[in-house]
């Protein structure tokens, strides 16, 4: 069909369709948005290695309208980026949007939500993580006493085994009872 530039090879598209929850059209749309962030570094044709080598830096990723206002954006990008710094390759970005899309099942969303809220990466959500989450959410409006009170309340409500922090299973248990998790933990691109 003329001089159309092929963005991905058929094999790549098939792979991406199998590995994510996206359709072909959505994958191409994701690529378009990714390219808009940094047209100079992200090529139109990604049939080679570009999909997992070319990185867009964190400050550019944060300019995406869907993420600009999100208080957890830095943490989200660092969780999904392969090197942990927040600089995303196309495949990282695709994975991020796939997990946050409507078709992804609850399990994988809960898993990644846990990773996002676990700021210090110790595989538990402790009081420090909760405090950090609260300050991000309310942009420092709550004073220290209120923050710590809220954190203790959270641990009180959700900690089953009494170790003072939330493990993955306890987190999952809390999320299972929240009817709005699926609707809020959802980004449409």
């Amino acid at each position: 069909m003329g001089n159309k530039v092929v963005t991905f090879s058929e094999e790549q598209i098939d792979d991406y369709q199998d590995c994510t929850y996206f359709t072909r059209k959505e994958i191409l749309r994701v690529h378009k948005r990714f390219r808009e962030l940094s047209p100079s570094t992200v090529p139109k044709c990604m049939t080679g290695d570009e999909a997992h080598t070319i990185k867009v830096p964190l400050n550019l990723m944060e300019t995406l309208p869907e993420f600009r206002e999100n208080p957890f954006r830095k943490r989200i990008f660092s969780v999904f980026s392969s090197d942990g710094t927040g600089n995303m390759t196309f495949e990282d970005f695709l994975e991020l949007l796939s997990v946050l899309s409507e078709q992804a099942p609850r399990d994988i969303k809960v898993f990644y939500a846990f990773k996002i809220y676990d700021f210090d990466g110790d595989e538990h959500i402790g009081p420090a993580d909760l405090q950090q989450a609260l300050t991000l959410l309310t942009s420092n409006e709550l004073n220290a006493e209120e923050t710590s009170q809220a954190c203790t309340k959270v641990v009180e409500e959700s900690d089953i085994d009494g170790d003072g922090k939330l493990s993955f299973i306890e987190f999952e248990h809390v999320i299972l009872r929240a009817p709005d998790f699926l609707t809020t933990f959802h980004i449409r691109i």
Binding site: S82, A133, T138, I169, V174, R177
Partner: protein, 818 residues
């Protein structure tokens, strides 16, 4: 006693016991108290056995809890290829500790799983089973890790089988892996390759292969159509932008509107093509016997010269609004439809009464099916899977509080403010409750009396409005029928009722919400819910009175169906002008005033509950009137279309984002359920109408039949008694067979209920076990601490089960080694 409990409980305890030995260490080792959590990193030893550092801590053979029954459905990996260079790269464990670990070679059956592969087999309802992996972050090289994963997948028979089901499961596995994309692609390619090899070797059944390919291509087609449909998604980008600015609550209103619009559009297409179109053809064309030559004459379709000759009255513009006069005799209403068959072609007739009956029945059935599927899905997603409960308020606010769809900085600010307010409220409530204590008896009694009083007031308001509607209807009938007064007078009289009803529908809900504030419900959701129910009750009252009146006076008016159709037409139109245009205009004025004149009035907010109830009210009116006025579907489609754009403009320009966070999901289910209830109610009334109320003799397609349902009877009687269909049909509807269906349905329902109860009980049991596990862990931690410091004394219960010596010797050995 402890051991038995532990034997029956989850594997968590092994890790707990093993972890306990490390509690006194100075380095912090993350305690993983459940295997389903993110597991600890892996340590590899030189002799090829792989184990977690925590396993190493305990010589497992003597440990009583180590002799554990294997858990079913768990695969454990034996990883053999890791190198010891990874040991020193392990950050959280210094090398000397690592060296002190004794290797344990794991047998796959009972050992603690490092990376848990949780294989859920396909359940009865055929959700594909999948396997999820949880990885420790990048401890081993990715190729090795990929090998492990492939090995694990290949070990699972159900995943490697050559059938569409297992292909689906493989797909879910690959998608559900929480790994980097590159790793997944590698794994997927290798697995596909291996499966290809396997299938080459094994003799494949040609029919199975064919079925497999068929299913695969079918699924591809399915995918393709879904993509195509997604391309045509109506108003998708608009709704997304609204969601970004106002949050998910407002967006759900627009999605509800869109789905109602699409359902009504389908109904319109069906009713127009099968019902209105033939009738129109009959009006505009007729068959004429033209003689071509001397002997032959042929039937030719010719347009009628005076298509509107049967209509008596002249056309006034006002008729468009009142639905009377000229409009009453058109295809808009029931009265016009022929009771004879329309001549389509030589010898072929299209029976209008049959078409009328069956088309309307099909449209209603279609709507019921679509709505019931929506309600069931929504209920399942928001209630059953969520298991209800509001006990984790703080945790839910923090973890689910932020709406990730927000793209607007103003909305984001507002959301943060909302969260802050809610948390403050909760904290204040906590503090106040602690301080002031529970309400006294007198306070509770007064509150109860208040609530009862308000309920009685609301009830009387409902009854009052019903009586008002009845009175107005009676007055209108008297005025319109008797040719008293002028034409304008009659037209005005017919409008009065609609105007009053619409006014009532606008004002009373506002009064209800004010009254609800008096009742002081502790949970704001409850007050919204109660107001919702009351407004819905008001709707039911009004529509019910309308229907009841016309059914009762069916004998007194010449063409009561047309009158009822006219009523609904008027109500819908007046609601359009007043409720839609009027309130939008009022909000517009208010926002102008807020912006330029006086800040104190407050910016208008989009009231989701009131607007959704308005939609449900319109839809109910449409369903009531559709049987009596088939073209009403066109009216409602146009109205919904305009509503979308008006509301969208109103929201985007006038309103500010909602200040209370709107728990959209569960209220949405309630709305869908109310809509479904509405149509079921309408259908019941319709059934009563068709079977008990005699059809008008002077107009409409059923004028020659006593009751409308007799159409079915005639149709059935006309079937040839000797044909196969008749015998099959007769057999299917025998009383015994029908009783059999009902009994089978009851048994099915009972079975599902029993299963659900059993599962609920199991969930409770497991939850209690979890709590007991936690207590166990604390108890044992205490014991171990005491044992290490030499203070431990065996309690009578544990004597003979836990030998104190090995534990403390290991512990002391460890301490000396560290």
């Amino acid at each position: 006693m402890n051991e038995e409990r532990r034997r029956g409980s989850q594997d968590a305890s092994i890790s707990d016991i093993e972890e306990e030995n490390e509690t006194e260490d100075t380095e912090h080792i993350p305690m993983n108290d459940c295997e389903l959590g993110l597991p600890p990193p892996i340590i590899v030893t030189d002799n090829g056995g792989v184990c977690s550092k925590l396993d190493d801590a305990v010589p497992n053979n003597n440990h009583p809890v180590a002799r554990r029954r294997p858990r079913p459905n768990h695969l454990h990996i034996n990883i053999t290829n890791c190198t010891s260079s990874d040991l020193s790269s392990h950050e959280s464990l210094p090398s000397h500790k690592v060296a002190a670990m004794t290797p344990i070679s794991l047998s796959p059956s009972w050992a603690k799983p490092h990376r848990l592969i949780r294989a859920r087999k396909a359940s009865l309802c055929s959700t594909p089973g999948y396997v999820t992996f949880r990885n420790p972050t990048n401890r081993i090289s990715s190729s090795t890790y990929a090998e492990e994963l492939i090995h694990a997948i290949e070990n699972d028979e159900s995943l490697m089988a050559d059938s569409p089901a297992s292909e689906q499961m493989r797909l879910q596995t690959v998608r559900g892996m929480a790994e980097a994309m590159e790793l997944r692609r590698n794994v997927k390619e290798k697995i596909c390759y291996n499966i290809g090899i396997r299938n080459q070797n094994s003799p494949s059944d040609p029919t199975k292969w064919f079925k497999y390919r068929l299913k695969k291509s079918f699924r591809k087609v399915n995918c393709g159509t879904r993509e195509l449909l997604g391309h045509f998604e109506l108003w998708g980008s608009t709704i997304k932008s609204i969601e970004g600015r106002f949050g998910t609550g407002v967006a759900t209103y627009f999605r509800f509107l869109r789905s109602l619009f699409l359902i009504n559009l389908c109904v319109f297409i069906m009713s127009f093509s099968f019902l209105v179109f033939p009738q129109l053809l009959d009006r505009f064309y007729h068959w004429n016997n033209t003689t071509i030559s001397a002997n032959s004459s042929v039937l030719v379709l010719e347009p009628k010269t005076y298509p509107y000759e049967e209509i008596n009255s002249t056309f006034y513009i006002v008729d468009l609004v009142t639905g009377g006069g000229w409009l009453a005799d058109t295809e808009l209403f029931y009265g016009k439809y022929n009771s004879h068959s329309v001549h389509i072609n030589e010898g072929e007739y299209y029976s209008i009464p049959d078409a009328y009956f069956f088309t309307t029945a099909a449209c209603y059935l279609f709507t019921v099916i679509v709505l019931s599927i929506k309600v069931a899905k929504s209920y399942r997603k928001n209630f059953i899977e969520m298991q209800g409960g509001f006990t984790n308020v703080y945790a839910q606010r923090i973890f689910c509080g932020w709406d990730f769809g927000i793209t607007n900085s103003e909305a984001a600010e507002l959301r943060k403010q909302t969260l802050y307010n809610e948390l403050r409220e909760l904290l204040d409530e906590e503090n106040n409750a602690e301080r002031s204590g529970a309400k006294t008896l007198i306070q509770r009694l007064t509150l109860m009396a208040c609530r009862v009083g308000v309920t009685i007031l609301v009830g009387s308001l409902l009854i009052g409005s019903g009586v008002l509607v009845w009175f107005l209807l009676a007055r209108q009938k008297m005025l319109v029928n008797q040719d008293v007064g002028t034409l304008e007078g009659r037209q005005q009289a017919s409008m009065v009722m609609s105007l009053v009803v619409t006014g009532v529908m606008l004002i009373l809900p506002m009064i209800f919400s004010r009254l609800c504030a008096i009742e002081q419900y502790s949970n704001p959701r409850n007050s919204v819910f109660i107001t919702l129910l009351r407004t819905f009750g008001l709707e039911v009252a009004i529509v019910g009175v309308l229907l009841a009146y016309w059914q009762k006076s069916s004998k007194e008016v010449q063409c009561w169906e047309t009158s009822l159709g006219q009523e609904t037409y008027r109500l819908i139109l007046v609601d359009f002008f007043i409720a839609l245009i009027g309130t939008s205009f009022a909000e517009f004025i208010r926002s102008i005033v807020y912006q330029y004149v006086w800040k104190g009035i407050g910016a208008p907010e989009f009231d989701i509950a009131r607007n959704t109830l308005n939609l449900i009210y319109n839809q109910t009116l449409f369903w009531v009137g559709f049987y009596y006025s088939p073209l009403l579907s066109a009216v409602i489609v146009v109205k919904l279309f305009i509503t979308f754009y008006v509301k969208q403009a109103c929201v985007l320009h006038n309103c500010k984002p909602p200040s209370r966070s709107w728990r959209a999901a569960q209220i949405q289910t309630v709305f869908l359920a109310l809509t479904f209830l509405a149509i079921i109610g309408v259908l019941f009334t319709l059934g009563y109408t068709m079977t008990r109320v005699p059809a008008s003799k002077g107009c409409g397609p059923f004028r020659e039949i006593e009751h409308a349902y007799l159409i079915i009877k005639h149709k059935l009687n006309s079937i040839d008694k000797n044909s196969n269909w008749y015998t099959i049909g007769e057999w299917i509807f025998k009383p015994g067979v029908v009783a059999g269906y009902i009994i089978a349905l009851c048994v099915g329902v009972y079975y599902m209920r029993a299963v659900a109860h059993a599962r609920g009980a199991m969930v409770e049991l497991l939850r209690n076990m979890l709590v007991l596990e936690a207590e166990d862990k604390i108890f044992l931690q205490k014991n171990i601490r005491e044992a290490k410091s030499g203070r431990w004394e065996p309690s009578p219960l544990s004597r003979g089960r836990i030998k104190p010596l090995p534990i403390s010797s290991t512990a002391s050995k460890q301490q000396s080694a560290l």
